[in-house]
Symmetry: C2
Subunit: 323 residues, 2 copies
Amino acid sequence: VATEAGVSQATVSRVVNGNVAVSEPLRDRVMSVVAELGYRRDGLARGLRRQVNDVLGLLVPDIGNPFFTALVRGAEDAALAAGLLTVLCNTDENLAKERKYFDVLLDQRVAGAIVAPVSDRSDVGDLLARGTPIVAVDRRLNGVEVDTVTLDNVAGARQATLFLHEQGYQRVAMITGLGRTTTGKDRRAGYRKAMRSLKKPVPAGYTVDGFNSVEGGYAATQKLLRGENPPDALFIGNNLMAIGALQALADAQLRPTTDIGLLSFDDLPWGTDPAHVIPTVGQPAYRMGRVAAELLIARIADPAAPVKKVVLEPELHPAPTDG
Amino acid sequence: VATEAGVSQATVSRVVNGNVAVSEPLRDRVMSVVAELGYRRDGLARGLRRQVNDVLGLLVPDIGNPFFTALVRGAEDAALAAGLLTVLCNTDENLAKERKYFDVLLDQRVAGAIVAPVSDRSDVGDLLARGTPIVAVDRRLNGVEVDTVTLDNVAGARQATLFLHEQGYQRVAMITGLGRTTTGKDRRAGYRKAMRSLKKPVPAGYTVDGFNSVEGGYAATQKLLRGENPPDALFIGNNLMAIGALQALADAQLRPTTDIGLLSFDDLPWGTDPAHVIPTVGQPAYRMGRVAAELLIARIADPAAPVKKVVLEPELHPAPTDG
DNA sequence: GTGAAAGCGCTAACAG
DNA sequence: CTGTTAGCGCTTTCAC
C-alpha cells in the first residue's frame, strides 16, 4: 500500500473513500502519492471485506430485442448515477443459461440483481437465501415476494383487441408469446377477456404461439392465413413476432391495415418502413429499466422495507391515419 | 468454512477445485457436506488470492446495433465454453463512459477485456500497465500493439463502390461513419481508392458524415439529395445509417435500386421489408466475437506470445435479382 | 495425500 | 483526527 510514501494505511483508505474526515495536509499528501504511484483500489479486496460489491446484475432474455436494449439503457443510467456498475447477462430465453448466470452473480457477490426471468418459475431461491436483493422487471416471478416493475399487460392486450374491433375487424386472431412468462400469459388473457366482453367466441386455432421470435411470428402468420377460417385481423404479442408477421404478409401480397388488420405489442424498431407503420401498444421500456434500478437501489439500502410492485400503463399508439 | 463438518480446510479447496488429487473417501465426505450446507465458493476471496477473476470484460459502443449484438453472442459463447463469465458494457460511443468502464474492469481485476473502442486513440494504457490483456475487435487501436480482429474494411468498401459502378451508376456518393474509428476511416479510404481507380473524381460534398446512426443516415441522405449535383447511387457506411437512408428515400418517393443505387456496409437487421432488400457488404459478426474471445483466452494463457492480428474478409451480398 | 499457517488488499472497530 | 489490529474466505507453500 502507498503507506510507505506517506504515513499510515487506514488513513489512505479514509482518504480514498472520503467518508471520514481527514485533515487537509494529510489528505493532500496522500492524494499526491496516490496520483504519483498510480495506485488503484482493489475492488475485489474491498468487496471481500465489505461483503458486497458495487455491482448490479442485469439479466435479460434477449439482448437482440430493442425493447430490452432500451430497458437496459434505463437501468444502466440509473445505476451509474448511483455509482454502481451494471453487468449485463444475456440469458437467451434459456433456463440453464439463466441459472448459470445466477450462480456467477452469487459468486461475485453482486449487490443485487434485476431480472426479466425466462420463466415465471425461475428459481431465485439461492439469491434470496443469500440475501441478495432482486427485482423482477417486465415479467413477474410467481411464488416469491420481490419488488417488481411491470406493465399492465392484460389491460394493454384488452385495449388492443377492442381497438381492432372498433376499426371494424370481425375476426381477430392472436399470435401469442412464450407461455411460461407472465407477459405471454397476461397478454393472452387480455385478448380473451376482450373477446368475451365483445361476446365473440375465440375459434379454435385463433391463438397461435409465435415464441417471441421473428421466425415464430412468420410461421404463425402463415398458419393463420392458411387455416380454414382465416382471421381479418391479427393481434401480435410482441415486436419481433410482428416483424415476422409483416414479412409473411408481404410474401402473401397482403397489405397491412388495408387487407388485414394488424396491431402489435411493443413499438416496432427502426427499419420498418413508413408503408408498414401499424398501430401498437407502446411500453415505456427505458423507464421500466430506470424504475427497476431505483427499486433495487432502494431495496439494497433498506432490505426490510415492504415489497413494492410498480405497474406502468401501456399506451395505445394508433397508426397515423394515412394522408 | 465447511471444515467443521469434515476434516480440514485446504482439503475442501482441493476438492472443490478438483485439480489436486484427494482420496476417494475424503472427497465424498466433503462433497456431501458441501451439498448439505449449500456451500458456495466466494468468487471475491478467490479472485483476491489468485489476483485475477474469471471474468472477461466486453465493451461495445452500441448495444442497440444488431452487428454488435451478434458479436457479443459470439464472444459470450466462446468465453462460456472456456468457463469465463462475460460482463457486457455499453460505452454508447462515449469516451467518458468508456473510460469509466475501463476503470471498473480494472478495479474488478478482470482476466482480460475485449473492446471495440470508441476511438482509435482510446486510452488503454492503464489496462496494459496493470498487465490486463486486451484485444481490439472490429476497430483497431492505434499506438499500441494488441491482439486485434477486424474486417478488411478498405477492401469491403472498395468492392462495394466498384459494384455500384458495375451496375451502371455514374455518380456514387458515400455516407461515412464515425471518423475517429478505424472502421470509419478505412471504409472512406476504400471508397476513395475505388473512385481513383475508376478515374472518377469525388465531387465536393459527396462524402457526408452520418455518425453511424439512423438519424444521421436520414439527414445525410436528405443533404445529398438536395445538393446541386445529386448522386445516382449511395454507398452507406453502416447498417443503422442505411436504415435512415431508406427512410429518407421513402419520404422522397424514391425506390431503392430502381430510382437510386444503394449499397450498405453490414447486413440490415430484420424489419427491412423485402421490397427494400439492397446489396450489402456482409460481416461475420458472430465469428468476429468468437475469434476475439479465443484470442483473449490464448493471450491470458500466454501473455508473452507474439501479437496476433486477424483480418477477416468481407462478403459482398448482391441483392437478389428481382423475380 | 493431508493439515497448518501465511497472506492477497482492504475496511471497521477500537484506542489513543 | 489518526494509527494499530484484526480479519473477510480463499489458495498455496511447506511440512508431515
